[in-house]
Symmetry: C2
């Protein structure tokens, strides 16, 4: 009989908070039920708290994190626009592909995988392309475990270029300051540090991003992800757009409740504490860490295996023998590295103890 109650220590999904499992057990509500709409409103309020923003347009998109990425681009850009994108991993690459499919000219600012992007290089690129519509960067690169520094990009608020940030893996795991850092558009996912199953993408747009949406010369190429129309349902107009995924929204509401009950700062501190312990212990076991110390994410550790160890075999042994999931390397690190997540409810000392115990038995 398989150990199918996994300890989820990959790059997402993480194990849901118990409150999330309870929420799924509640009777299903319709998408126009006043009781559901009250939960939806409170979910948006809770999202504002975790995003640290007062943005009115803050809501869960009915798709996974990649749908949130696409929603940001299709609403903010028009064909022929120039966008600047920082690329140091899979998700920066993905942004380029999504932006190209919107008919934009993409200016890349590349950094080696496993290193950070110098924010000054991004600002310099903006000076070279002062009319660029958007500058986009991934905050926590899930493919490498590196944190890109967002705060200095606040300088973009003095320009006509909007700042778009991917906070899929960072939100609730490390500080994300949407208003404090002058972020104009930010998207995340539910299955990382919010510990809700995958399926929704929290998104927030600043007033100047909303202004941009309202002054488009063409409608967004996606009807499903049109934030003007979605905002008319989530906002006070309550105009039907598509059938909201009510069970998932109620689950997100519960996950956000768990985060805020613990406290956002406390959640960041917990992720920092268990991540540091894991990283120090992995080095003792002969693993080597990919991300540089100053830019290393606590919630997502990318690591090369001890000399002579085949990553797939060892990973399978963890899953089949112990019910522990860790992630394979992605892109440039496929076949040579692991990605170990300690996110949300999975970010516990007990998870570290369990993983280290299993590794010691196997190695």
């Amino acid at each position: 009989m398989p150990l199918s109650d996994r300890l989820l220590l990959g790059p997402g999904p993480s194990n849901p908070y118990p409150e999330v499992a309870e929420a799924f057990a509640r009777p299903l509500l319709g998408h126009l039920d006043p009781e559901f709409l009250a939960i939806l409103d409170e979910t948006c309020d809770r999202l504002r708290s975790v995003f640290r923003t007062s943005n009115a347009l803050t809501l869960p998109i009915s798709g996974t994190g990649s749908a949130g990425m696409e929603a940001c681009f299709v609403n903010l850009v028009e064909p022929g626009d120039t966008v600047i994108i920082g690329v140091n991993g899979v998700f920066g690459e993905r942004m380029c592909e999504v932006a190209r499919r919107c008919g934009t000219e993409v200016v890349r600012v590349d950094a080696e995988w496993g290193t950070e992007i110098d924010p000054q290089r991004l600002l310099d690129a903006q000076r070279s392309y002062p009319h660029s519509r958007v500058l986009a960067v991934v905050h926590a690169e899930t493919s490498t475990g590196v944190e890109n520094d967002i705060a200095p990009l606040r300088a973009l608020s003095e320009t006509e270029t909007l700042l778009l940030v991917d906070a899929v893996t960072s939100l609730a795991g490390i500080p994300v300051e949407v208003d404090g850092w002058g972020i104009d558009a930010c998207y995340s996912g539910t299955q990382k540090c919010l510990s809700v199953p995958p399926g929704l993408s929290p998104v927030t747009f600043s007033p100047r991003a909303v202004e941009r949406v309202n002054t488009r010369s063409t409608p967004p190429q996606s009807w499903y992800l049109d934030l003007g129309l979605i905002g008319d349902y989530v906002g006070s107009a309550r105009k039907y757009h598509h059938t909201a995924p009510t069970a998932m929204v109620v689950a997100l509401h519960a996950g956000l409740g768990a985060v805020l009950e613990e406290g956002l700062e406390e959640s960041w501190a917990r992720h920092r504490s268990v991540g540091t312990r894991l990283q120090e212990s992995l080095v003792e076991l002969g693993f080597s860490l990919i991300a540089p110390p100053t830019r290393r994410l606590p919630q997502l550790t990318s690591t090369r295996l001890p000399e002579g160890r085949a990553e797939a075999t060892l990973r399978k042994e963890l899953l089949m023998g112990y019910g522990i999931e860790v992630g394979a390397g992605l892109g440039a690190f496929a076949g040579v590295a692991w990605r170990v997540g300690l996110m949300g409810h999975s970010a516990r000392d007990r998870s570290v103890t369990t993983l280290l115990g299993a590794l010691r038995e196997i190695l």
Copy 2:
């Protein structure tokens, strides 16, 4: 204390099958876990059974039914293509808007809301535009309760025009014969006659639709809905695209299991039986039915209220006093009609008895 365990008799969501609620209580699996991938494979097989197709490309899109609609258009058409769309309700209108945002020329074949579209008129339109890329029509118009006849459109398989069908409200409620009717692309939703919460959209593409996708001159404008990329994850390549909404897929797997255990023909018969009983009883209570008898959907009844009754007041009384949700009229029928759904697990004689009992008490 509110009666929040609703009897869901609106146009969706319906009450989930008990097996679906059980599935949500299972521990969460990762999107690359072999155990999850086996469930995903079986989910696609079950979808083939309910779609009555052998199409290899059959899978759940990670979004609601409207995402499935958009996925079909963005993959099948390119800017400048001509598409023919039958319009006799909200969802035909929505197809036109989605197609326009793909840069296509839309040829409309309109019929009055509440009536069916004569399939001969659609075939005539195709003869006038023989190079049209797609002819699209809604099978069960959720906004009016009317069934459009799809079988005669099989004749399109002799032309170069692909047949695209919206089966959101029809799938598992009335016969849908993807292979038998020569449908090239079909999408549905989970929250109607499959009785799974909203959040996924089952989609199936025929070999000639896949051929069309493979010979595009430009990539689909949506990266998130790119069926070539999604197929590489769901198919044997298992190439990561986006994080699949694993909890929802496991729930869909369970819902499809319930449908197939009962038997698809038995499910159709049950929907027919309870729908007919409801419709006859509503007429006795002074309601009048909108859809014509021969084209009336059993699973979704559109009805005008007895003379002098305000629909919103009565609907609110049902919800607040009895915990019964019915739907308001949409589009042309807003403010003057109801839409009563008897779908999936909600399609029971007990539901009819409960609704009629409540209506008799209120009226």
